[in-house]
Symmetry: C2
Subunit: 483 residues, 2 copies
């Protein structure tokens, strides 16, 4: 029978001490233990609260898509897509982000407008840098507004949401850099970059937040074959950043202001900053001409939120966290059309919150604070002071569970009271019901407050009400959606 | 630039009208639209509330594991495991359930006791029957108690949790069938089944809930080579079900009661029912000797919850839902040891809630009720009665968002008021702020209650407080975790 089978299996696995398999999670992945989960839940709750405050719905899509759904969407990065083995049937790949599945969903269901958020894991066979919060399996947390709407109204709301979320997480100061693809295109055009080099020059510019202009220039000239004077001209512009006054100046700039595409972009940017002002976040927004963002599919406004003072903060392990950028996104008006047989587009703008980086920061903070993160919400522990009281404890547990009070008891029949109380201190349970023979005889229980070690006797009939009062008084987490 | 590229791509995809790819999700998978997500959230909230009421923590594991982690755990069903393509590096498979990753997690982290829940998707290359709620990608929703504890205390709590969850979902009457692997083993032994046939006979018995005894007997005799009189003897027992009185009778049964293993199982079952009685759920528990459950790794108590009157209820599509069993689980004391180099075990008992079936039932119910499921929690819509008021609307939105009031406004600058109000009725937004030139001049807003169409004027200064009062009065969902 099965015990035999298990023993056999164990032998196969090397009962001789030489384990034949390694006990680990796949490269670039990790388990979330209860502490990490508590932080994760906290972060998600704040983010979801913000999404819901803005009236968003949520959807979910499968973890894998038809391989062809992902084909041709990620350029060079396609090599990082995880494919499933061909076991007969369809060829499948794990999703690489949530944007392409969203576009597929819109096209497939012929949805013309929606405001949705989607929080789920995505997969990239990248070189993991786990100390810096970069994994092969990681969460994305996307909010997008799809629909044919008026200029910059949805775009400004996305930036407002980023600001709300970063504020609510209390991560210190941050700046949301904004730019516009039309401005970049116009800039390259009027500096004399040939159109076929726009993309590669764009990706060089994108490195300006990590490296010096001299290096970027070298890349443009030596690797990408731009004449030095063209690179220099680009350099003058992309090192500019500022607010509405910079836009006004550039609109009057004889080169950039004269380029139709750039002027269009600048006018839109002006409107965006006006709306950001009305939303009370202009002081957190910086028009930054060096912001380029890698993804091909952006067509309008692009943005990226950066935490100040976090760019090179050391972690507990002594390695740099590198958590500068914590959110990013932009407008992509042509992606849905790639899935529509007639090429019909649905304009979209969205933002992706870099939750893995936020987890890293908050985990480091929790560790530094050394305060324990509670991993359960238990309000009451039912303890017994003498032996053979498991049945009495069960009756009390039943009464408390039925009253929607979060309750635990020891899973051993007889355990030393001291150990029971210690468990409460370790796990942060604030209240204990203690029973002994005397209490049972008198039809009472003792309510013990763990923090103060105070005990008082209440009648069994009043127990539930007394505990409820106590729980309210202590302000215990409590009150999650109940039955 | 990218527009050109996208156009090219579109052409590849067949701009000539003959789409070259099919717009679909992979076989056996589905998207969750906002309506489905709203129901899913509801179900999860109730289930998680119950898990937390019992003091559970939560963990998460990667969606894929090393292939060898899953090897040898699922018997014949291993052929249903999804493998990832070998793209260099480790060989990986998608998780098949949450129990094996849990056991791997315990062994890897040397955890000796934990009470955790885990809600996540699992993957099986099974023949999908989507109308009956069977998918290739589906949620599992597991609660397990690991640790060396006293007999039946954690086991009874698992059953209590099942009862709580099914009660809270208001799914009508249900029964939790319970049995014990030791009782089954003892029964087979004393009826004269050779030990090597225990497993196969067990799986025949397991079919008794779907088919008649005559068919099961035929399988035992014709296919599995059991002498007819042995099958008949098994038949007498496995058609028995009842409560504590049946256990007493069987303990005195000259055959079964005399078998050491069976007697042990019966004594444990007696204790389990005693604890169920103390937990107030004995009337929902039935000791059912035909319950066998497929999985090899069970070693003690097993159970399965069945909704009464749902076994063959037709769905909207006219096909049977077949949603009888909605939860199941049992004790598996030897699984963790399979991952430990020294074979050290951690006893476990757990339950898996069949949430996909619950979703099916609740979706069908929502459809039948025809009442709209709200997919957002928006409390206030900011509308304008005349043109060119987008900036004024934005100021109001800012004030409401900053006050943590869930607020939307039109994304078009100028929209007919009627359309704005219609949107609110369609999506269930209960309150509207209406502004026009008069209101702006007077520094007031109109608050409109959508249901009654009543409007009243309040000053801008009182707007937030008035809305808060109104939201409380209407009992709007509101109040999710806020900033």
């Amino acid at each position: 029978e099965e015990v035999t089978k298990l023993l056999q299996l164990k032998q196969q696995l090397g009962d001789d001490g030489s384990k034949k398999f390694i006990l680990k999670t796949p490269k670039g992945t990790r388990d979330f233990n209860p502490q990490k989960m508590a932080i994760r839940e906290q972060v998600f709750n704040l983010i979801i609260a913000s999404f819901k405050r803005h009236g968003a719905e949520t959807i979910d899509t499968p973890v894998f898509e038809l391989k062809e759904t992902l084909t041709g969407k990620y350029g060079e990065d396609s090599k990082l897509i995880y494919d499933l083995a061909d076991q007969g049937g369809e060829l499948l790949s794990l999703r690489y982000d949530l944007t392409v599945p969203f576009a597929r969903y819109l096209a497939m269901n012929k949805i013309k407008n929606i405001k949705r958020y989607h929080i789920a894991k995505v997969y990239r066979r990248d070189n993991p840098a786990m100390t810096r919060g970069r994994y092969r399996e990681f969460y994305q947390c996307d909010f997008d507004i799809a629909g044919q709407y008026d200029l910059m109204i949805p775009d400004a709301e996305c930036i407002k949401i980023v600001a709300e979320i970063l504020d609510s997480l209390e991560l210190g100061e941050f700046v949301v850099k904004v730019n516009h693809r039309k401005i970049l295109d116009g800039l390259f055009a009027c500096c004399g970059v040939p159109e076929e080099k726009f993309k590669t020059i764009c990706s060089a510019v994108d490195k300006l937040d990590k490296t010096f202009w001299a290096d970027v220039k070298a890349e443009m000239v030596d690797e990408k074959g731009l004449p030095p004077e063209v690179a220099d001209m680009i350099g003058v512009y992309v090192q500019m950043s500022g607010g509405p006054e910079l836009i006004e100046a550039l609109l009057k700039d004889e080169k950039l202001g004269a380029n139709k595409r750039a002027a269009e972009g600048l006018e839109e940017m002006k409107l965006l900053l006006r709306y950001c002002d009305l939303y009370g976040i202009l002081d957190k927004v910086s028009f930054d001409m060096s912001l380029a963002r890698g993804l091909d599919y952006y067509t309008g406004v692009i943005y990226e939120a950066v935490l100040k003072g976090h760019t090179n903060e050391p972690t507990s392990g002594g390695e740099p966290t590198g958590v500068g950028s914590v959110a990013g996104g932009g407008r992509y008006d042509n992606l849905v059309g790639m899935f529509d047989s007639k090429g019909r587009n649905v304009p979209c703008v969205g933002v992706s919150i870099g939750v893995e980086r936020l987890f890293s920061i908050l985990e480091a903070r929790a560790q530094a604070a050394k305060g324990k993160t509670r991993t359960t919400e238990t309000e009451v522990f039912v303890a017994s002071a003498q032996k053979n009281m498991v049945e009495e404890r069960m009756k009390i547990c039943k009464a408390l569970w039925d009253a929607n009070i979060k309750t635990e008891q020891p899973y051993k029949k007889n355990q030393k009271l001291l150990n029971q109380l210690q468990y409460c201190e370790e796990t942060g349970i604030p209240l204990v019901i203690v029973i002994g023979e005397t209490e049972i005889q008198k039809n009472v229980v003792k309510i013990r407050t763990v923090a103060t070690r105070e005990e008082r006797e209440v009648s069994r009939d009043d127990m539930v009400e007394e505990l409820r009062t106590e729980i309210r008084r202590l302000g215990v987490s409590g009150g999650a959606a109940g039955s």
